[in-house]
């Protein structure tokens, strides 16, 4: 079952790399949250009540519901739903992601571990590359946030790959990162962004003038 969820997760990464609408990004982030919850349930060997509560809060409530909900609210306010016209076309972004997959295979084959652990590693690395590609090839801040969320999901997959949950402090730190990034995005869109006609990250550089 884990392998099926991992393959669906990989599909969501391919789709993310070539999607052009922010609503699609948001839906895919919610889907990834659900998939991570399923994967964690199958993967974690020791599951006490505290672990389960934290897992449900982190993946299901936070990644699959709260974050996408906030993202939808921001999108409704700003009325911008497409990536920047100068962003890399989906065809080339997908080619880059496929190159990322090949690089992941190369790295994964050199690691020790069981088959399923390597598959986890493979998909985690693909998620990492996809997040980086999203950030590099897009200009609007919303895409950058999505790239950051995908990288955070990759970190979660890495922790699952080694068969253990990360310490609470690390998990809480990562969650705090996401909350702060969404708050900054909300601030940028709601307060500062109204001054600009677009949501390009270049606008942030102008603020210091």
């Amino acid at each position: 079952m884990e392998i099926i969820l991992l393959v669906v997760f990989a599909f969501s990464l391919f789709y993310l790399s070539m999607a052009e609408r922010f609503r699609t990004y948001t839906a895919l982030i919610a889907l990834q949250g659900l998939l991570l919850f399923g994967l964690a349930c199958f993967r974690l060997r020791e599951m006490n009540v505290a672990n389960l509560v934290f897992l449900v809060t982190e993946t299901l409530l936070f990644k699959a519901i709260a974050v996408p909900f906030l993202m939808y609210r921001i999108l409704n306010r700003i009325q911008v739903n497409r990536v920047h016209p100068d962003a890399l076309p989906g065809f080339y972004a997908l080619l880059l992601t496929m190159a990322g997959l090949l690089l992941s295979i190369f790295i994964t084959r050199r690691l020790d571990g069981q088959l399923i652990e390597r598959t986890f590693m493979l998909i985690a690395m693909l998620a990492l590359f996809t997040g980086v590609i999203l950030i590099i090839t897009h200009r609007r801040i919303f895409s950058h946030l999505v790239g950051f969320l995908v990288i955070e999901n990759a970190v979660f997959l890495f922790s699952l790959a080694v068969g253990m949950d990360a310490p609470y402090l690390v998990n809480i730190g990562v969650l705090l990162d996401i909350v702060v990034s969404i708050l900054i995005l909300g601030l940028f869109m709601g307060r500062i962004g109204t001054r600009y006609s677009d949501m390009e990250t270049d606008n942030l550089a102008d603020l210091k003038h």
């Binding site: 079952m1 392998i3 099926i4 393959v7 990989a10 599909f11 391919f14 070539m18 076309p89 989906g90 065809f91 997908l94 080619l95 992601t97 496929m98 997959l101 090949l102 295979i105 994964t108 084959r109 069981q114 088959l115 390597r118 598959t119 493979l122």
Partner: protein, 298 residues
Amino acid sequence: MTLVSALIIPGIIIRTKSLCSGRKGPALFQPLFDAGVLLRKGVVLSPVTTLVFRIAPSVSLASVLTAVLLVPMGRQDALLSFSADFVYFTYILALGRFFMILAALDTGSSFEGMGANREALYSLLVEPVFLLLLGTYAMFTGYTSFSEIFSHFYFSNNYAFIAGILGFYLLIQIAMVENSRLPVDDPKTHLELTMVHEVMILDYSGPDLAIIHFSTWIKFALYGALVSNSLVPSGWPVALQTGLFLLLQLSFGIIIGLLESFRARNKMTKNPQFILTLTAIALLVFTIMLLSSYMSSK
């Protein structure tokens, strides 16, 4: 059996689409009657065309008939089988397409040249999908000919299950792209600017056009046979295998009809991206099976 199903599949597709759009639709064998009419007509040839234009339909038909020899029926052996015959299968079909592209260019029509250009691009992009998929099957079974691959393909674990399900999806999409159907092309369009395959054959008439239709139908049945073969159990008697094979071929026609009924055509500029997505999916399946076989060999 593949040739028999080739005669039925076009009618099933049209009938399914008609029923889905609330119409009764033509008879199941109407495409055959239409082809019969074409065979009885004469041929009109443009004076600018050469021998290439005249032989292209025959080469195309010969290439798909040769490909039929390589594909087994159910878990029975194919008439022609050798190592890496799936690579030969790919390129014998490409040969037929190459001649059709040459024929389109031979007419000197800018529209047909444009269609040939698109057909060449889509074929180029879809080829890696097919080779990656069959490469995955070959790696999983340890054999490289169609007959051996299908006689040793079982849903033995989750990895095989994934390869089977995604292979099913990819083969249907490849069949759609190779036969210029939705979402990359619409065979019912009447605007030359948006045509792909249809615009390439605008100058053909009579028996030549009928031969081109036959080639397309056989190509559809070929991909349907590849889908069916991975689902027919090897332990069954030959008669039951044959029955199931035909049933699966009919289901293949219905699936194509349903897909075409509830799907919009892509924008022309989005087609390469769509086909590249298929390559990405095939690459992912290949990667996972590669990892699986690497681990089992250690």
